[in-house]
Amino acid sequence: MDITSLTAVELGKKIRAREISVVDAVTASLDQIERVEKDVHSFVSVDREGALERAARIQEQIDDGRITGPLAGVPVAVKDNMCTKDMTTTCSSRILENFKPTFTAEAVRRLEKAGAVIIGKTNMDEFAMGSTTETSYYGVTRNPWNLRHVPGGSSGGSCAAVAAEECPYALGSDTGGSIRQPSSFCGVVGIKPTYGTVSRYGLIAYGSSLDQIGPIAKDVTDCAAILEAIAAHDPKDSTSIDRRTYVHTTSGKVRSGGKEEVCPAGYDFTGALVDDVAGMRIGIPKDYFGKGLDAEVREKILEAVRTLEERGAVVEEFDLGLVQYAIPAYYVIASAEASSNLSRFDGVKYGYRTEDYEGLHNMYKKTRSEGFGAEVKRRIMLGSFVLSSGYYDAYYLKALRTKALIKQEFDRAFEKYDIIIAPAAPTTAPELGKSLSDPLKMYLGDIYTISVNLAGLPGISIPVGTDSKGLPVGMQIIGDCFEEKKIIRTAYTLEKTRTYERPEMINNMSKKKEPAIGRKGEDDQCMKGGRA
């Protein structure tokens, strides 16, 4: 049996059934990391020793019945912008090299409580600013489907790690598409939950009003189970929402039999794993399928939509409106928040500090100029400018008003449709080195994902095939606020009509691989993340 090919839930089952030990599960991941990291480079750091220690401890807790959940003993990789106590957390930036947080992010803590074994921290665009994972200070991550291509970003390391089977699942974060777009490029499933569903405590902020943590895995079942483990009301995050009691104005009132019923949003995501979309009203925004969308991507998505239609969904095209305004509004809001969020990195309290300086302000400037990469500096400059005296109204308030209008557009759409289907990206994964030269062009690649963050909506990206280059195509399913269940149900139904596709390099590798069970990694050297 090939442990690394299992999904998280499958592996969890075998661990609970004592068919696979936690140490074996973790060792399998660590071995796979050793095999593929030199090519893929999904990780900034791998904690081999720590992971094996934790594995042994969790095995004990499973054995004496203290941990029983579906993710007990299953290894996980965490994006390097989530704080992990005593484990380096860099945001793929030089300015946080050697930074060891003194506390663990709430989402990660919840996973640990559920028995997850953290094996390492995944690579990302520096401070999550980027769509290719090429802005990392620690080197690029390559797409396991084709090593000459990017994995997408900013959660490129997490998505590549799952696709390359270095871990059964991973956590990512999504500010403007950073889970959904790389999931689509890497042929895996990723969910960006409704804003406020997963605690942001311990997530190093990029755009605070847009950031959400979410699961990345091989299938929808895993994603639902992981989301169930990490989603909870957290009193440490003031923007965290208690979905047990929260009733949303539009989605929380349901008409049944002529009278209105009040439905709290809830946390039961696995309950939505139902293979049935009969009667599901699907809206297809025309603006998302016109100019700018790659023909092969369009074809694969429409094929999936036809499949859903055959399964009883009701599909209709409609005009979403304001689509072209999401990106400019996003870049104003996200850059403004980032310019403030990233001001704390100044060489005083943690992280990098320049060697030579004259006085305080020179220390600040040199530290930050040497510590941040070009894309981060670009956004900090833009953000500082749009907030500066005389421009606040024209740029920042204008963007917040645009955001309100975009939200209204979605509210109107969800009066008619249960879900909206869209591409996750205009193309499949571009080649390495082709995107960064023109930032604005790169930003335009986020056109289908960004408005979802502005409106706080949940979205899932699910693979729907490959293009002629053999690169995966992802489809995005967008729900109304707090309607994760509808997108999970739709994605699950679609997934049931397909088989999971692995990157060729992983397929070939696993054919050669010996069965991992019982094999102890005696001469494995400790992998250390480092600059590439």
């Binding site: 405590y201 997530l203 605070s208 003031s238 005083v348 907030l387 606040y392």
Partner: protein, 476 residues
């Protein structure tokens, strides 16, 4: 004739609130402690940390706003004020600009014989910064975040004050209100109350305001008064010389009695305020406002009126006693126990004030229990001790908070009421002082005093002076 100038002053007053914990985390606000001991990821700006608002901060701010006749903002929000400085761990301060908690209020002040209103423009909640200490040894600064995140309100007045006296009266008034509310101890020296002075001058009678400067680093009422005088003179000199006043922030150096500009290219003073995305709005409804209003304690003005009416305390005395919430509390507690408000008031007005002055102490520093003062009043009223003994005992109460009953007993200070014993002493005094006896008999009333004194001395002060007087007259 030289031109006449009018000084126009507005104040920005920062007050540290008396909460147990900081505004956005559960670290203690206690003063002192080794550097950085009262810190956590939130108040040191660690990556990934998030603020959660302390409800008590909102309630104290509402209480102050209501007491200062402000409108409470029904939807109030926090904003980020962005600037780099090491005492500010996130390099932004969470404050309020667009929707502060209270607006459009006023307080009544009395300066000299003039009564006037100083209007309050707005009041907002914000977090305090850490402390920077200069390290002489290697010429660097050391940062301590113990004060970082301590809750503040900033009260911004309109430019309604015209002299240092008015400014002091306004500050005293605010301090009184806030101390009475229990919302802060308002100690200027410890920095729990701080004032920045916005000052401009204009020719008397002019309609337009002059260009103002903002002065910081004012740590006492005296420094404020000196700074106002210094800045007024500096601006007038500039104007007289035909130069313009520059709008700027200046730092007052109370030792040199001079202010200097804090300008630097690196301090652009462009704070890039925007709504704090990590905090949600505070919605304040009528019910909440009423709850706070109903909890408001009696403030100084009301207390003063009541003391006059209820206890028949003279206006001057009532003003002094209510001038410190702490003293008023002691007064009320002691009066309630012994039922003799006027006697209690006398002890406070005479002996307490004298001892405070002798020991260079503030009324806030009075540390004796009201029970002990009440007991002392009872002991004197019952004639158990005489007045001179009582004064001596009070000093002990003031300094060491002793129990007067126990003390009097242990030191044998009770007044002697034994007539036999007294008569023996009197006989001796009369025999020893024939001249005085002669004088008294000759009509010199004063001579009796000397005899009483001799008697008291012989009895080590423990005699009942009334009884001594009466007996002496009888016996002579």
């Amino acid at each position: 004739m030289a031109k006449q100038y009018e000084t126009v002053i507005g104040l920005e007053v920062h007050v540290e609130l008396a909460t147990k914990t900081k505004i956005f985390c559960s670290c203690s606000t206690e003063f002192g402690g080794a550097p950085n001991t009262h810190t956590c990821p939130v108040c040191t700006g660690m990556p990934g940390s998030l603020p959660v608002l302390n409800k008590q901060v909102v309630e104290y701010a509402m209480a102050i706003g209501l007491a200062a006749n402000c409108e409470i903002t029904r939807v109030c929000k926090f904003d980020r004020k962005n600037y780099f400085y090491p005492d500010n761990p996130q390099n932004y301060q969470i404050s309020q600009l667009y929707l502060p908690i209270a607006r459009n209020g006023y307080v009544e002040i009395e300066a000299g014989s003039m009564k006037k209103r100083v209007r309050i423009h707005e009041m907002h909640m914000e977090e305090d910064a850490g402390k920077l200490v200069h390290d002489e040894w290697d010429d660097t600064s050391l940062v301590d975040y113990n004060r970082s995140g301590v809750p503040l309100v900033e009260i911004v007045s309109e430019p309604d004050m015209r002299s240092a006296d008015e400014v002091i009266a306004y500050l005293e008034k605010l301090r009184m209100i806030i101390q009475y509310l229990g919302a802060s101890d308002c100690k200027l020296q410890e920095g729990s109350m701080r004032a920045d002075v916005n000052l401009s001058v204009r020719e008397a009678g002019a309609k337009e305001f002059g260009t103002r400067t903002e002065m910081k680093n004012l740590n006492s009422f005296k420094a404020i008064a000196r700074a106002i005088e210094g800045e007024r003179e500096r601006q007038i000199e500039l104007l007289e010389a035909g130069k313009a006043v520059i709008q700027e922030t200046r730092r007052w150096d109370d030792n040199k009695e001079f202010s200097y500009a804090m300008r630097s290219k690196e301090d652009a003073q462009d704070y890039r305020y925007f709504p704090e995305p990590d905090l949600v709005p505070v919605i304040i409804d009528d019910e909440w406002i009423e709850k706070i209003r109903s909890r408001q304690p009696e403030l100084q003005t009301e207390k003063l009126m009541r003391y006059k009416k209820e206890f028949d305390i003279p206006e001057y005395d009532a003003k002094i006693i209510t001038g410190s919430k702490h003293m008023a509390d002691i007064f009320e507690a002691a009066a309630a126990i012994c039922g003799k408000p006027k006697k209690v008031s006398n002890w406070l007005m005479v002996e307490t004030l004298r001892l405070l002055k002798d020991h260079n102490m503030e009324p806030e520093e009075i540390s004796f229990a009201p029970e002990n003062l009440a007991k002392l009043v009872e002991l004197t009223e019952a004639g158990t001790i005489n007045n001179s003994v009582a004064k001596e005992v009070f000093e002990k109460i003031f300094l060491e908070n002793i129990d007067p009953g126990v003390y009097v007993e242990e030191h044998g200070l009770k007044t002697v009421n034994d007539e036999g014993a007294l008569e023996e002493v009197l006989k001796k005094v009369i025999a020893d002082n024939p001249q005085a006896v002669e004088d008294y008999r000759g009509g010199k009333e004063k001579a009796l005093g000397a005899l009483v004194g001799q008697t008291m001395k012989a009895m080590k002060g423990k005699a009942n002076p009334g009884m001594v007087n009466q007996k002496l007259r009888e016996m002579i």
